[in-house]
Amino acid sequence: MDINTQRRSQVEIIQLRGPLRLGPAVNEFRQALDESLSNGDTRIVLDLAEVPMIDSSGIGVLMKSLASARQRGGNIKLVNPSKFAVQTLRMVGLLNLFEVFPDADAAVASFA
């Protein structure tokens, strides 16, 4: 799992590359989100364009972080999730909890 983080207009953009599954990938994902949230960066854009698969442990980290961000007045928004990631989030009834954008610029602008 490659994780790149950048900051734009006071929004943290986290770009993931690779399957998000139990093990090192989910551990690194959790660490990246925890780091952002503990720094007070609660406005987060998650770029999922290159994440072909998300398992239930990845979803668990995502939902726990979403709760944490929202409790502090922030949010986590998704960018360009793969077709299968969308199907998976829909299956577990969570897709409608997220705002989904076609690109990072649009997601960042939505926080303004």
Binding site: P19, R21, L22, G23, D55, I59, M91, L94
Partner: protein, 149 residues
């Protein structure tokens, strides 16, 4: 290795001409699961299974292996989880995952929609049931058999 962790044979009735394609035995280590899932995906690609079906089976295998490692084996790396893939002459795929644990109450797996949506666990078995066409448990839940048609 105890014979108690060998998966039971795939059901023969209604599924004739079952051909074994892949047999994996992995230590109960969360870091090994993704590699096993990738081996299953590679096997399916070799069998020319369509991509959407591959992804559904791959995620179901990932979830079944995670349950076996985390719950069945309590992350005890001295224990072994088995995963077998077979297909029949109609292109249907059978996955069997077995662990040496005591099993679990699979009938009690809640539907995620009625849980707290912010829960960080409890979606694995539900996902498997959604992704696969036929799912059954044996030996108290320590063996899961999953068909994708």
């Amino acid at each position: 290795m105890s014979d108690a962790i060998s998966p039971t044979p795939a059901p023969g009735t209604g599924h004739p001409a079952l051909r074994p394609q892949l047999s994996l035995a992995i230590p109960a280590d969360a870091e090994q699961i993704a590699n096993a899932t990738d081996a299953v995906l590679a096997c399916l690609a070799g069998l020319k299974v369509e991509e959407e079906k591959c992804m559904a089976i791959g995620l179901a295998v990932q979830e079944a292996l995670a349950n076996a490692v985390v719950h069945g084996c309590q992350n005890d790396v001295s224990k072994t989880v088995q995963c077998e893939l077979s297909c029949d002459d109609q292109g249907r795929v059978l996955i069997v995952v077995a662990d040496p644990g005591p099993g679990f109450d699979f009938s009690a797996s809640p539907e995620p929609m009625v849980q707290d949506v912010y829960n960080d666990h409890g979606r694995g078995v539900f996902l498997i049931r959604q992704l696969m066409d036929e799912v059954s448990f044996e030996r108290g839940g320590s063996i899961i058999q999953m068909w994708k048609y």
